[in-house]
Subunit: 179 residues, 4 copies
DNA sequence: TATGAATGAGAATTCATTCAT
DNA sequence: GATGAATGAATTCTCATTCAT
């Protein structure tokens, strides 16, 4: 069993549940059943561990992007929306980790470059879709599409206890796919 | 000048710039030129200080809401969008504080009830507007409107360095006000 | 009883006996009967504590210098040599602390400016003496006199177990005072 | 190139530049391009590495002593002083390592026996010289000669930034060789 | 209302050393 | 001879909080 992977797995869960700043290395160690020193051996620092986790998520996004080479932009949008809402329900704490890391000044600074990389990646792949639907306004529509999804995530995860996620999903599908 | 107000002012700025968890009481004291004891005298705890700051923002929103008793829902939307984008540009760090407090599990817990209160407030005043525009779908449209703005704030403040805020604003005005 | 003074007293003894790098803050605290936090409250860091101790010694030297306003340079030299050998025998560990702080790269860096200040102080007061004895060569004779005493201290404290300190003292008195 | 030699070379430089206590085995490994395990394989412990370095210097001194079998004690003194001042200028950090190891309680303890051995060696070879110059006072003159040189080294290396090393050298030559 | 000395629990990090390979 | 994952004890330092004044 790979201890490095185990640390990453445990840390991801704890960071997601309690926030990065409020999860101590000690807690990660105890939960993962490894010594404190090992974390610093593998990741150099707590920040290094966060970076590793953050960049792995980006890599997952990359892989996902490569997967759907559907012919139809509407098909891609459909897949994308479905997987987005799926993750929102299943992986909620994990998504929350990403939002909180990005929005908190200190953690933001730690993964600054990785945020830029990921943002560019998401923007490009979104724009590729809208280029086929509405080439003239594809830039602005991409930004708005991304913002809309992020806003939905933020409100669902952190603001409203009774956010009508299913209806919102229907609405979005209506708006973007069925004209 | 009132020392209590001074503490709140300084703490707001520091929490916004460095995050709540990464700002120590000591730093607030030194910057505000008061003693440590005084903060605990006035706010009972560091969490108490955060709650005071957070609820003051809610009060500001309340006051703002009372102000615009325009006849026309489109006029209200227009005012609302304008002040939103205005604040986004002028008060960016302050808005970021609100997002980060809300999205981080630990701080979220501290102001849980205040978030609920504020969310209800914002939802109600938004719904009042959409009730006049599209009564049947007013609930879903309110949620989507709020999510859209939050998403724009998040992307502008924390994700894209070159987010086309002016074009997004035009687009929203086009979408919500000029049909 | 002043806890700050107590910390300084205990730390001086421990640093002298075990060396700065090998004395932990915990040990200082336990011995002094204060909490860990208090050291950082008063001295900001372990390095700050060392600086405080080092500069106090310089202050002692300053005070000592002001004292002997003997008319005769040979009288001053005599007093000086006597107190030097006296300290060498009584305060040996304390002198060793000074030598080790000065000669170790890391600790040296910490008190760099204080070493410079002290060196200038000692050189000036030595030169004042030799100016009256041999004005033309006073500079070089001052440097040699200081080096000689330091070398004796180093050899007595750290190198030879059977360094003939009394005979060395007689020899120096013969050399510098009785022509 | 022999990895063991490489380790010694790198460690000597690092210990000299940063002090023994402030140089970690990890740093030695990285700089030398070897694994951690290898150091413990060759030297048993970090202390063992220091002892190896320290005793090699003693060996160098031994070899040097064997070399000059001049007939004239003044010739030997001359050679000795020249090589001393030469080393002071060229090998300053290395000499500083020796002084700092000797004067710091912890490191002193580690090489205690080696210091004694080296001190005896230096004393004996110095006394052999003074035996020919002034047999009656040779002991005390040897101690003073050694102390004088050590004091000069200490002051030049660690105390005065503008120590007049050249003039001091001339003075010593005048004092010990030209009457 | 206001101060700041004092606390103590807990944080991240370092580091010599071991050992299976 | 050579590697590097793994350990665990120790280290410096931070920080919210209390309390006598």
């Amino acid at each position: 069993m790979d201890k490095k992977e185990q640390i990453i797995e445990v840390a991801t869960k704890l960071f997601a549940k309690k926030g990065f700043e409020n999860t101590s290395i000690s807690e990660v160690c105890e939960t993962a059943g490894v010594s404190k020193g090992l974390i610093f051996h593998h990741f150099k620092s707590k920040n290094g561990l966060l970076r590793e986790i953050f960049s792995r998520t980006t890599n997952d996004i990359k892989k996902n992007n490569l997967t759907h080479k559907a012919e139809n932009p509407y098909q891609i949008l459909s897949l994308l929306l479905n997987s987005f809402f799926e993750q929102l329900k299943k992986d909620s704490t994990f998504l929350q980790l990403n939002v909180s890391v990005i929005s908190q000044p200190t953690t933001r600074e730690i993964v600054k470059d990785l945020i830029d990389e990921r943002a560019a990646l998401i923007f490009e792949s979104t724009k590729k879709i809208f280029n086929e639907i509405d080439p003239i306004n594809s830039t602005i529509r991409s930004y708005m599409f991304i913002a809309e999804l992020d806003g939905i995530a933020l409100n669902y995860l952190s603001i409203f206890n009774d956010f009508p996620i299913e209806e919102i999903k229907s609405e979005l599908i209506k708006k973007y796919i069925q004209q």
